[in-house]
Subunit: 342 residues, 4 copies
């Protein structure tokens, strides 16, 4: 079966996770999280991210982000984020619709926020005519496939905290970033001083479900109400929690992300020797951005769908997945050559 | 393993559904619903509810209700519902939080809305000082375990439509009602003139996921945006849709609901001969409400959790599930006798 | 010119207030409250309500209530109020629309909340499925024209505070209540432990504008943002503030409210001797509720408009105003007799 | 008394308007708009803007904009506006807070939107992941003091309508623009095809109050509810409406705006001959933007307050008012020279 380079969420569920779901499917458990799988998964989050960590399971990436942000904003606050942030551009205005919160989106060249982006809004503070920026939301790896270095993160978070800001990290592809930086998940979050992380596994071998991870216990006090009123409380919670057990305990997060990243690099290398003219930058995670003639791209998408990123700039995105192997890449490169070499 | 009478969502996933999930777990599919399982499930909804039916899959019961209601309300509208409605009492104010909509909740004796409840608010219409009631939300079977007859439904829906109202049905336990009334799902919805149904299977053998079912195509125009901005769009949609395939095609909805209802009746009959003093009414679906001394109930809940319904009235709820058999009931009755007969 | 008994807001602006507006109309002042009239009015509020008092001027009664409530609620909180509360019934769902907050409205016989009404919701606390009640909103004098005694208020507020609730008072007719109880405004608010008061003068001789009065400084920290984002910040604030100067400094609030109350009593006495059959209870403030045949009432309303309160119960409301004199009452009684005595 | 160049809302109320308020202060009128002053003002709006025009009075500029925008948006819509738009930057996030609507703000050099700004977002249409842009909001004169020509407006509005967009105009300083362009108010709105206008007079000699003006009757159907639930319905409406009577019938809007514009030009000319180095562009309405050394500006602001526009660029704003005369300008120039010529 041909694999899709449209998105890493086109992939299926890793066997080990499906097995765990089957295992968890025995008998009755009290709903809403009062079950042994949820308890076990919570412990694994503490082991992975540190003992102060508190985790809550929700259902979608957007849900995780909106709930996380609600926990650290008040109604008069604004959130500074890159204009490419998923929450800004790809969620049908969920943050504004549900929270009534303004996103102060800033242009960036690479999807990463800088101290200057925060500084620009500091004159808003204490002026009643302006919403009050108090949160930054950053994505690691970014929507552009780039990865903040540990140094960059520390510098940004330190500056934000000095200004009394809170920091949310969108970790839909945090594992890919950790593989790139060759560091632990804790080194990328807890140790940096992130306040709250939305941590998904769907793009990396899970079926459904996201985790909202808090690093400072004072922020969780009202989170159960936030989750419920944002329609993110599942009754049969064991089926979300259970997936995180192999994901965190048997290093599946790492193995899967590494394979996806490796395949992106392998694709990049293959293209360098076959279609170097379409390449832009070397991939930092599992996304490759290429330049294609728009008319040909349209024909290609009909055979194998992938996303246009910016038609004006002829920019298209290829994403690799945890379940791809070199044969899948070879096959895809053949497909590309068929259209682009005639 | 002891089964829980706390709620029908304490049960596990029916084998046939889990098998379908495993079958759907092969290879890549385009996300967000562009896959063959979603297409198949959509067809099954048309077969079950009629060819005008359009279905959208979402994630939680609250999400299904809020999305369904958003599709048929404007910002100045209010929703009339029984005060016992799940959306009014058990969803942490989600409808108000997300939609900003006022619920006009009315006291009922049995969880059912009547024409009089609508009539009471008609003087609000066209007065700028009042929110404009334009929707009723009814639950079938109700949160009190009662079931509207077809006649009652027709009468209510006809009256509502004559007043230009739209009708939402919360069908978290619609299958149990259909079993009770010995009718099809279509006879309870499409044929009555319901506008939109939220249709869950979690309480009846599914893992996760809900369906928002529209009966009038003009109401769906903007629903994809509503679903996304309410954080109810799952990327790997095949895993929700696939569950509905056996549920609808092999009559699992019926077999499961029938078993749950039968077990509630069996429990009722057993108690009639052993603890008749705790009984209230004969169950109409899969919920049994009993009167217990509060001090003893607290002890019982520690051994086997079940919900208090109204402590002032000594009222408690027992729910039966699709996976219970007479031995489970016999065992539960023994447990009840142990506490209540000494 | 015939005066209207429809509402006390049909009256005009008291001469002394209009004179003050004319006086304030000289030259330029920095907008948004940085002017000497606003400073002076703020001082008068401290003199009237106590030195901890902080006041903010807004524009409508609904605006005052929504802003006040936002200051003391979080998004997962609910507000307990009588079902007759203006905020519940007469504001087109503003609290739900703007704040997304659920009102838990309770039936009362006389428009007054009791400890039992709070108690009924205490089992909601800490349960993630329920919005969290944490605020009560009471109206003094009530929408039914009744007046809480000091004792009733103390009892209710003490109980609420013991449960960690905050207390909002809708004081649209607070002055009328103070006249009835023969006490100061401070004795009805600050001394009782009210947290925040919305205090209007429009019904008592002012032109436009409301005051949100805080009694605990910790609640005002973010109020300037709340006022602005709720569209209640006027640029030329001197014209709101200036009205409160004669209102508070020359006891206009008292003189005006006393006259309105006296006229309601005078109307009651006149009717006792002419149309005793239409009377219900003796007025406690400036509202009189009477029973009229609906068919005759409709004809009467065409000649002189007044409000139906509850048509099913043949209940209608007459309101007296600060600018009425006994001749206006005599004239109105003649009008009533004309319709009701033939 | 020294006049302020901080904002045109620092000015007082024009005598003719205050006289009208005094005249309107006789006797009782039914509240909420059922009075002869409101009826008269409504007629004047039809005379001024055309017979299809429907006007509703509200209280603040932010209120007018939010209400107007709510009337033409649905919950999944976004509004395209310049990043300098008052609604985007100066209203504490009111649109997001109250409507839950996303503003798609675009960078401009001169505060004016172009067809290209709309085009950029057209690929959002019909994609469920993106909010759906369907409204543009433009300001005339802009917040930067520039004025769209009739040609520019026609071009923009035609393009927007071809894309099925609706057009909102923020007319806080519409009169100043009409003076600049030497055209009628109708030529700038009705004749262009604007859908809804928020039209304030506070910056041009009124006391308080704004008008929401609709040009297509189908948009007003639910506006009374929108106004009420957005806390913008005043009870004693005659006091808002009455101000618009001299404003529209005796050409006060024109005389006042002309004076303000003339004074801005006069200030510009005076500075050209005394402090030419601080000038940027010739004023198009009643705002002048100048470059000042920040350290000196801070000292100047302490003596006479005016606003910094962009400190990084040393940009400051001076605004002239309807009530200024050449002597006020001369005096202000002396003040400027005192600080800038030593």
């Amino acid at each position: 079966m041909v694999k899709s380079f449209a998105s890493d969420n086109n992939s299926n569920v890793h066997d080990e996770i499906l097995r765990k779901l089957t295992e968890a499917n025995i008998g009755h458990y009290i709903s809403y999280g009062d079950d042994k799988y949820t308890q076990k998964a919570k412990l694994l989050f503490k082991e992975t991210f540190g003992s102060n960590t508190e985790v809550f399971f929700v259902l979608t990436g957007t849900g995780a982000k909106v709930c996380a942000l609600q926990a650290i904003t008040d109604r008069y606050n604004a959130i500074i984020c890159p204009e490419t942030a998923h929450i800004n551009i790809d969620e049908c205005g969920a943050a504004e619709h549900v929270l009534g919160t303004k996103l102060l989106d800033v242009a960036t060249s690479n999807g990463k926020l800088t101290n200057e982006n925060i500084e620009e809004y500091l004159h808003f503070i204490a002026d009643e005519h302006h919403v009050q920026p108090k949160i930054i939301s950053i994505t690691q790896a970014t929507e552009l496939g780039t990865v903040y270095t540990i140094e960059e993160l520390k510098n940004l978070v330190n500056f934000a905290k000095k200004q009394q800001f809170k920091v949310h990290m969108d970790g839909a592809r945090l594992c890919n970033a950790a593989v790139t930086l060759n560091c632990s998940l804790k080194e990328l979050t807890t140790d940096i001083g992130i306040d709250v992380l939305s941590f998904g596994g769907t793009k990396n071998g899970m079926m459904i479900g996201e985790a909202v991870v808090f690093f400072y216990p004072e922020d969780i006090k009202y989170f159960p109400f936030i989750r419920k009123q944002n329609m993110q409380l599942i009754s049969k919670m064991r089926y979300i929690a259970a997936q995180y057990i192999p994901y965190l305990s048997s290093n599946l997060w790492y193995t899967n992300a590494k394979q996806a990243n490796d395949m992106a690099l392998y694709l990049y290398e293959k293209l360098k020797s076959t279609l170097p003219e379409i390449l832009t930058a070397k991939p930092e995670s599992n996304a490759l951005f290429v330049k294609l003639p728009n008319d040909i791209a349209i024909k290609m998408q009909k055979e194998r769908f992938f996303y246009a990123w910016d038609i004006k700039q002829n920019l298209y995105r290829f994403m690799t997945s945890y379940d791809m192997e070199s044969a899948d890449i070879d096959d895809f490169v053949k497909f590309l050559i068929k259209y682009l070499r005639r």
